[in-house]
Subunit: 126 residues, 2 copies
Amino acid sequence: MKHYSKQREAILEVLRSTDTHPTANWIYEKVRERIPNIRLGTVYRNLSGLTADGEILQIEVGDGFEHFDGDISPHLHLYCKECEKIFDQSLKSDYISKVANESGFKTDTTIYVAYGICKNCNKKIN
Amino acid sequence: MKHYSKQREAILEVLRSTDTHPTANWIYEKVRERIPNIRLGTVYRNLSGLTADGEILQIEVGDGFEHFDGDISPHLHLYCKECEKIFDQSLKSDYISKVANESGFKTDTTIYVAYGICKNCNKKIN
DNA sequence: CCTAAATCAGTAATGATTACTATTTTATTA
DNA sequence: TAATAAAATAGTAATCATTACTGATTTAGG
């Protein structure tokens, strides 16, 4: 990722314009509204580059899809196993980073995921 | 996962006998030494069941493979982008779980992943 | 023992992601 | 602003980790 491209720019804008954690395909469909003949491969290539550059986060919750996040601040991802949605929760400190660096590991990205049942689903079930 | 099976038992034992974070295929090769005609599909099915039952953890680090962990205590996974290995580090408290539950989310599993460069690779590079 | 449900071996299919190539776009330098 | 090399893209094809299917086997409980 050494050069600017309008495709990369559009992908980044789409990702930053949502507070969900979309898949590559979702991003592809959105970007296609602006750049109709963009290819899914281009979206994947840029998402990989943006992740490597630390401009976005890649989140995996075990549902078979890679999810992407335009918010790179350290925060908690709550994955509800009932509705299969990802919720965000802010964190006061980057706990992981501190612990990791104490042991000589140079951290540049931290991912926090909790699995369980969200507030809403809890009401419905019980 | 309501019934016992020797396949499930063997898979769990293999996973608990290592402190690495193997892939389904690695586990398959190991279990095959004991049960020669077990199938990869059986390994996958059992790993999914064991994960759902909370007996093992499923860790994803963005390398295209699902990794499994027989240690279900909350701990930190350090993924070195240089040597592509996963290191463990114990945690004094399950920070995520506390924060999540405060907001009404019922957590049953927490995953901590830090990306960066490990101690050894740091020496080699610099 | 018997039965029903769960799991398995064996095999085939799926589909998210990656790879490839010729063309176009970008950054740089003169 | 033209020339050049490197990087990115469109278009297409391939990969391969994972899941799905089916008939046979194993398990749990009475």
